[in-house]
Amino acid sequence: MSHHLVEARGLTHVYEDDTVALRDVSFRITHGESVAIIGANGAGKSTLLMHLNGHLTPSSGEVRIGETPLTKETLPAIRRTVGLVFQDPDDQLFMPTVYDDVAFGPRNQGLPEAEVDRRVREALECVGVWTVRAKPPYRLSGGEKKRVAIAGVLAMAPDILVMDEPTSGLDPRARRHLIGLLAEFSHTRIFTSHDLDMVLELCPRTIVLFEGAVMADGPTREIFTDDALLARCELERPLTMQAAPAGGHGRN
């Protein structure tokens, strides 16, 4: 059995105000895959991510992580398996120093302090911000904050990385660095993003959501060249593919 599987079966979510955010969503993401979940604003991307980490309970259907159904009992184990990086790092960084923030997860796992220290060092070195460990998070640049937020999740050694809009709010250089970093990870990765160029680089597979339902699930390049599908889902081709003729491949 692999812990790296993520499966949604007939997942439906209805909010208290009767808004249907997800309609019968099903997919299976396997070990080591890098998958993008894209869709216009309000398509249900964030709601879906909240389900993968057990923050929301399905109105019907189920989520399974590594063949284990997500229930109240399995929640702590599943949160160790699935690392969720929030869109706004300011929501995630709340400890007084970068070091303490990255140590927050491992300490909650009850690891001995020597192991916590090793994990924090490895995670911060992996994302290239070990030098800022003593700084308070609010003094960091946007790119550094994002990296620290990722380190905070990496330090928990998850099998699956779920990231909400990883490149939002970053300048071009910080964005480029982050994409390079994310490409090196061997985890099962699930991204939501409006940055379709990033999706093109990082994710061979894409799931398109529209009004809470899965409209397409397949190879990213095929989806990005299906103009009718993109138009129906209120999306556009990535910028690097916009100049290319229909069916052609843009600059990568």
Binding site: M50, N53, H55, P76, R79, R80, G83, L84, F86, D88, D91, Q92, F94, M95, P96, T97, D100, A103, F104, G105, R107, N108, Q109, G110, E113, V116, A134, P136, Y138, G152, V153, M156
Partner: protein
């Protein structure tokens, strides 16, 4: 408060958290020892009669000694203490206005009991604030909450306290953003009561949303209500010495009027 002032006080607030990551011997003490000592200090200070002034003064030795020994920035701590002064004055002022019986004669001018009790309230508020701020600066708020829980505070209450502290910072940040947004489009016009009400309502909603996201982020990283700060939690001889030494001094200062002794001794020496 103008935006820069809000910003300044907010950054100060965060600096207090940062100070707690220091490496002094006081920082390394078990949080329980520091919390218990501060509680005893506050109880001793608060238990004096309402017209007590002079016997309170020696108590300042505690925060001053800690500031010195832990290498804390005295100015920052002072700025925090000053924040409680308006509240203390507000509480003490009615005493000064209603209690007009002269208790003291200073150079022929009678000082009423009301003014003395107001001074006493202000001093006690400053002492309590100084001790608490110094405690946060050498311990850190999460460790304080953890210590409170371990010495018997119910866990839900301790968790509430931790979140109160976190969300206070969140509230401050949101307030700062809204103040900036108002300032940019207000052309220098002061805020009307109606607008003020609307902004406060909006601020609460925004803070609520943000607080929820932070809570989700904490849960996503395994937070279940336990406090794990990575600081040592051994109650050994240094802790026993710290608690016994300070509490012994506080009780002595509470039971005996040391200022009176000192005054008498000084006068005796002068004669």
């Amino acid at each position: 408060m103008s935006t820069p002032a809000v910003l300044a006080s907010l950054l100060d607030f965060r600096r207090l958290d940062l100070l707690a990551t220091g490496e002094s011997a006081l920082h390394r003490l078990d949080a329980r020892a520091k919390v218990v000592t501060t509680l005893v200090f506050v109880v001793c200070v608060m238990s004096f009669g309402r017209h007590t002034v002079a016997p309170l003064l020696p108590f300042f030795v505690f925060p001053i000694a800690i500031i010195g020994a832990a290498g804390l920035p005295a100015r920052l701590i002072w700025r925090k203490i000053v924040l409680v002064l308006p509240i203390a004055l507000l509480i003490g002022l009615p005493n000064a206005l209603f209690d007009r019986e002269a208790l003291l004669d200073v150079g022929g001018v009678g000082v009423s009991g009301g003014w003395i009790s107001m001074l006493s309230i202000v001093l006690r508020a400053m002492l309590a604030a100084a001790a608490s701020i110094v405690l946060v600066a050498i311990t850190g708020f999460p460790a304080i909450c953890g210590a409170l829980e371990r010495i018997g505070m119910p866990r839900p209450l301790a968790v509430q306290l931790l979140f109160l502290y976190r969300y206070l910072a969140v509230l401050g940040e949101e307030a700062m953003r809204m103040a900036t947004a108002h300032e940019l489009r207000s052309s220098g016009q002061p805020m009307s009561i109606r607008l003020y009400g609307a902004l406060i309502g909006r601020l609460l909603l925004r803070t609520w949303d943000r607080a929820e996201r932070i809570y989700l982020a904490m849960c996503a990283r395994g937070f279940t209500g336990d406090f794990r700060t990575g600081q040592s939690s051994r109650f050994g001889w240094p802790e026993i010495a710290y608690v016994a030494g300070w509490c012994g001094l506080f009780l002595l200062l509470r039971m005996q009027d040391v200022t009176h002794w000192l005054g008498a001794a000084t006068l005796g020496a002068l004669r």
